[in-house]
């Protein structure tokens, strides 16, 4: 039955809501003002409101939507498969039916079901925010993850950052270098190097790699960066063997809304590492 509806919803979008009818989610007519809020209330119940709620549904734990459907429609139980389907952005044309099926099959395997834990190490929040640096509004991307302490406490920590303004410039002056006899004058040429930040890389070892996180820390320490606001937030999960999926917030007045899977990719370990690097790019 579930496979039927899965096929339906991926092929014929209008059948998407059959899943919801099965779950007791009747599509309300456009409400008159007196009923305005009741439709919104139901949408709110179905909406995946927090990433915490996403994890609850993913793991088939006790969660709001199961209680709501049970109380309102008398359905005894919503299956894990139904919950997993509800976690996808059903309007996404890029989600492939076969991939979704395979993913659900892996996650919902009867012998080795996969669950996610908030305190897992291999998932990240990608926060694109706007900051002010040198009196200009700039974009800054932060990758955060949960860090758990021995006593069970936890906190979000910045794992990595990316911003154009934190890049060491490549430089384009072919004359900017310390010539091979610089030692003869006790390296007097360093004076020119220090006055030439645009060509800094020319004076550094070829093994040098930009460490944006350290630069970010230094700029923060010197009060050179001020926060404006979060522009976009997404979560990226790497814990499921052979899969990566991304979760974003879909703000719409529908039942299929809130934090939903927007991207699903099959990937091995190398692919996952490559994707993690992509997370730091301006545009995913």
């Amino acid at each position: 039955m579930i496979k039927y509806f899965l096929n339906c919803f991926l092929q014929e979008r209008r059948y998407v809501y059959l899943f919801f009818i099965l779950s007791g989610c009747f599509s309300f007519p456009f409400p008159a003002s007196g009923q305005l809020y009741s439709g919104h209330e139901e949408n709110f119940a179905y909406k995946v409101k927090q990433i915490d709620e996403f994890l609850e549904r993913f793991n088939n734990e006790s969660t709001l939507i199961k209680d709501y459907i049970s109380d309102r429609y008398g359905y005894p139980e919503v299956s894990r498969e139904e919950l997993l389907i509800s976690l996808f952005d059903l309007k996404n044309p890029h989600l492939q039916k076969e991939e979704v099926e395979r993913f659900i099959k892996v996650v919902n395997d009867s012998l080795n079901p996969v669950t996610l834990n908030f305190f897992d190490e291999d998932w990240y929040a990608r926060v694109k925010c706007s900051v002010v640096y040198e009196e200009k509004v700039r974009d800054l991307i932060l990758l955060l993850q949960i860090q758990k302490e021995d006593n069970g406490a936890s906190k979000w920590v910045v794992n990595n950052v990316y911003a154009d303004f934190l890049n060491t410039p490549e430089g384009n002056n072919p004359n900017a270098f310390l010539n091979p006899v610089s030692h003869a004058t006790d390296f007097m040429g360093l004076n020119r190097a220090f006055e030439d930040p645009e060509n800094l890389k020319a004076y550094l070892s070829s093994a040098f790699r930009d460490d944006q996180l350290s630069k970010f820390a230094m700029e923060m320490q010197n009060n050179n960066i001020s926060f404006r606001q979060v522009e976009h937030l997404s979560y990226h999960f790497f814990q499921v063997e052979g899969w990566i999926f991304s979760v974003e917030n879909f703000r719409r007045q529908e039942k299929n809304s809130g934090w939903l899977i927007s991207r699903l990719i099959q990937a091995d370990s190398a692919g996952k590492e490559e994707f993690k690097q992509l997370l730091l790019k301006e545009k995913l």
């Binding site: 209330e41 709110f44 409101k49 927090q50 915490d52 006593n151 936890s154 906190k155 606001q229 979060v230």
Partner: protein, 214 residues
Amino acid sequence: MLNMYYVHKLKRVSLFLICLFVFAVSSVWAQNETALQTAAANESRLPPPEIDAELYSKKALSKTEDLGTYLAVISDRNNSLGEANKAVESAVKLFIDENAEFEVSGRDGRNRYKVRSYLNRLKLLNYDKIEISWTDISYVSDLKKGIDGNYYGVITLQQRFKGYKDNRVVYGDLTEKNIEVKVVAYQKETDGVKQQKWDVFLSDVGVVVTRFDQ
């Protein structure tokens, strides 16, 4: 000579008594120190307060409802400034401290206001009457322990707001709010027995406004 003997003996006895006294005092002092250290150690070994999930949820929602009540009083121009100010003070006490922030989504992006500043801005709203109510459904997350030893959770719920002028609704919206809550433990001593208690406080409030034209 006999007197010298007795003086000498008296000196020895006095010295003995002084030593005994010092010994006694230092023993008591050491015992007190040990008692204090033991008490301190015992305090740190007191089990963390049991936080009943259902009770936490009820307390958190109750404080959120109280906040709605105070917001309505503050925004209602029919109330006196004194009543509004009293409501501001009561509302501030619901929060963990005055550094908690309200985020408001507007046309020019998101703005953040410290609690007191946000509440005082509400007094400037131009309505004769305000109605604030909450939808029945709310999501309350599990609590997570922070590195400060306190527990943190989030409530997501919808608030209905209606502003009246001349007995007519001139503005109405349905606002989804994400309210951070902080569960803080404290000690209460009753009849010499220390008990770990806990209370729920509101913290940062994130807002996404859905507006309906009237």
